[in-house]
């Protein structure tokens, strides 16, 4: 009896470990693009993972763990910034930070990312999910819990702001 429970526990641990190895790097990248901070991204993914592990047995489709993780990361990033209310000051500090060398696009990338990070959270999430995760409007709308039309509107408004903010920047 005890042996069976121990074996079951070990199997579950292995399963959790496999899920973490499979999904954590991609989750951290997504969280970084949404927050602009590696350490925060790592924390958010840990948090998202913890929440999902608690619900793992109740997930309707455990195979879609990646999608659940993405949604949880986006929600956690949104609530993080809503809670802290220091987003603007933080992002301005980040934007002023010196960029690393080696990538010829680094300056433009840094500027573009800084502008992206200044967008309202939902516009930012919509752009990242559409253009980085390559999700469709429908998939993005499921994560953001809105209609596909709203996603298109969020992306359009975000792109408009990006264009106007980066008008003077040339490649």
């Amino acid at each position: 009896m005890n042996g069976g429970m121990a074996r079951e526990g070990a199997l579950e641990r292995d399963r959790l470990a496999d899920l973490y190895v499979a999904h954590a790097p991609e989750g951290i990248r997504l969280a970084f693009l949404l927050t602009g901070d590696w350490a925060l991204a790592d924390d958010l993914v840990q948090d998202a993972f913890t929440r999902l592990v608690g619900r793992l047995q109740h997930l309707r489709d455990p195979g879609a763990f990646g999608a659940y993780l993405r949604r949880t990361i986006v929600n956690l990033a949104t609530s993080h910034f809503r809670r802290r209310r220091v987003e603007r000051a933080y992002l301005e500090r980040e934007a002023a930070a010196p960029s690393s060398e080696g990538n010829p696009n680094e300056a433009l990338d840094g500027t573009m990312h800084a502008v992206l990070l200044r967008l309202p959270q939902r516009q930012r999430a919509a752009i990242v999910l559409r253009f980085y995760e390559d999700l469709s409007d429908v998939q993005t709308s499921e994560i953001l819990r809105c209609s596909p039309g709203t996603v298109r509107s969020l992306v359009s408004r975000g792109m408009k702001t990006l264009r106007s903010e980066l008008e003077g920047v040339t490649r």
Partner: protein, 86 residues
């Protein structure tokens, strides 16, 4: 003029600039379990506190109800006569 393609490329470059981090799965799983246990313990404590507070509140209300109500004091005619109000 920034277009979707440039934004897409920028996002991928930024994401790929991720420093190589060690994915310590067992540690993460342990941490997740610890947090789940802590959350469970906090939930149990909170539920217990709410239950105790509810019982204390209900007791207090019952005690107040069972206390006899104060009867109105009879008027003293003598003292009443002394005052102009009567």
């Amino acid at each position: 003029m920034i277009d979707e393609h440039q934004v897409r490329e920028m996002l991928h470059r930024r994401a790929n600039a991720l420093p190589t981090f060690v994915v310590d799965a067992p540690k993460a799983a342990r941490r997740a379990r610890r947090r789940l246990l802590a959350n469970g313990a906090i939930a149990v404590l909170a539920a217990a506190a709410i239950a105790v507070a509810t019982l204390v509140g209900v007791d207090a209300i019952r005690a107040r109800r069972s206390r006899p109500t104060a009867r109105p004091r009879p008027l003293h005619r003598a003292s009443c006569a002394r005052t102009a109000r009567c």
